[in-house]
């Protein structure tokens, strides 16, 4: 076989592994430049590396480098890019995992105080809501009820309704007036559209039309949800 004469030993071995015609597309050497002259018109379909008739038509164009490259298999020729691609993929994967670790931690997810505007807004909205729903007069319980429908939702609304139905029954007889103000508010958790707050309230309670008011302190743990751009209280617990 002429192959033995013109190609180095390695290439000869390859010829046996991939006989002409059985080699797949990926087996075709990209080093066609080096072999183009040697292939000849009859070797059109044959894989270049496995050309059984590599008689050089124009020997002058065959550089020694071309012969050396011929030695390498097709896999070796794409090995460089593949290694680079693999390294980059691993690097990217590691970066992604680390980023997700940092971003996904409970600390990072909680925007309380980190987002100062949002923290101030939820604190303000919840304080206003609590002030409104816990301030009532025996003369005008309906206004407070209306406010509660706007400012409360879910569990908080149900709890409040139950409580307020008692207030409504007793308030006229006792001539009860309650004025509530917020002494301190702190946001413990703020993530997405949900917030948890601790609120210290002061309540001034007047019975029997003004003579002698008493004061009471109340500490509430409040859960609020952002709905249509404003915060509504969905849960109230004494703490």
């Amino acid at each position: 076989m002429g192959t033995e004469r013109t190609t180095p030993v390695g290439a000869g071995a390859r010829t046996e592994d991939h006989p002409a015609g059985t080699a797949t597309a990926t087996d075709r050497s990209p080093e066609a430049d080096a072999m183009a002259g040697a292939a000849g018109p009859t070797a059109e379909k044959a894989p270049v590396g496995g050309d059984p008739n590599p008689v050089p038509a124009r020997p002058g164009r065959r550089r020694p480098a071309g012969r050396l490259r011929q030695v390498r298999g097709p896999l070796r020729q794409v090995r460089g890019p593949l290694v680079i691609a693999l390294a980059l993929t691993l690097l990217g994967g590691a970066g992604m995992v680390r980023a997700e670790q940092l971003r996904g931690s409970p600390s990072a997810a909680n925007r309380a105080l980190v987002d100062t505007d949002a923290t101030a807004r939820v604190g303000g909205d919840v304080s206003d809501a609590l002030t409104k729903i816990f301030t009532y007069s025996h003369e005008n319980t309906a206004a407070t009820e209306r406010a509660a429908r706007d400012l409360l939702a879910g569990n908080a609304y149900r709890q409040y309704s139950a409580l307020f139905s008692q207030v409504k029954r007793q308030a006229p007889a006792q001539r009860l007036t309650v004025t509530t103000s917020v002494a301190r508010v702190g946001v413990t958790r703020l993530s997405g559209g949900t917030a948890r707050l601790l609120v210290f309230m002061d309540q001034r309670i007047t019975r029997g039309g003004g003579n002698g008011a008493s004061v009471a302190a109340a500490q509430l743990s409040v859960t609020a949800r952002l709905q249509d751009g404003h915060w509504r209280i969905v849960d109230i617990r004494s703490s």
Partner: protein, 177 residues
């Protein structure tokens, strides 16, 4: 002659091209990953961590300053000093003799539990924070039934080498009278 030669060359180049296309995709992935990593706001992350540490330490310190074992007064007083810093620490040290006498005569025990607390201010650069805390205290006299008290506090915190400590602890008064 030139036509099949060109086709062959193109065919032969295909695996290489595919490999480099893969590299391009990998570059894109790595760049995207790096960008999303760099986009993380480290300052915000550090701030959020400091907030959570201040709250956790603050809660524990408030609990310690509201607790006393009537049978181990010296240990309790030491814990008070350890929980505090600055002016509060100085004051507790100054009054510790008086506190010891008072506690020894009453032998009252107190067990504080922080039911809820929130950070209301945090300055990581200055190492200061402020928290509010709602506390339930179970007070047990030497010969008597335990009773429960509720207190609400505002506490100033200072960051020290051993974590956040209280430099002030004041009950939030009820207004509106």
């Amino acid at each position: 002659m030139t036509e099949p030669e060109t086709t062959r060359r193109a065919r032969a180049r295909r695996p290489r091209r595919r490999a480099w296309a893969l590299v391009l995709v990998a570059v894109g992935f790595a760049a995207w990953s790096g960008w999303s990593y760099l986009r993380i706001d480290r300052d915000a992350l550090d701030y959020a961590q400091a907030r959570d540490e201040a709250l956790a330490d603050g809660r524990r310190r408030v609990m310690e300053l509201n607790s006393m074992d009537g049978g181990r007064i010296d240990e309790g007083l030491r814990r008070w000093l350890d929980a505090s810093t600055g002016l509060l620490h100085d004051e507790l040290r100054r009054t510790s003799g008086e506190s010891r006498r008072r506690l020894q005569s009453s032998r009252t025990s107190a067990e504080g539990t922080v039911t809820d607390a929130a950070v209301t201010a945090l300055d990581t650069r200055a190492g200061t924070a402020q928290i509010i805390a709602s506390v339930q205290i179970k007070v047990t006299p030497r010969n008597g039934k335990p009773s429960t008290e509720r207190r609400r506090y505002e506490a100033g915190l200072l960051h020290t080498s051993t974590g956040w400590k209280l430099r002030s602890l004041t009950a939030v008064p009820v207004r509106g009278a």
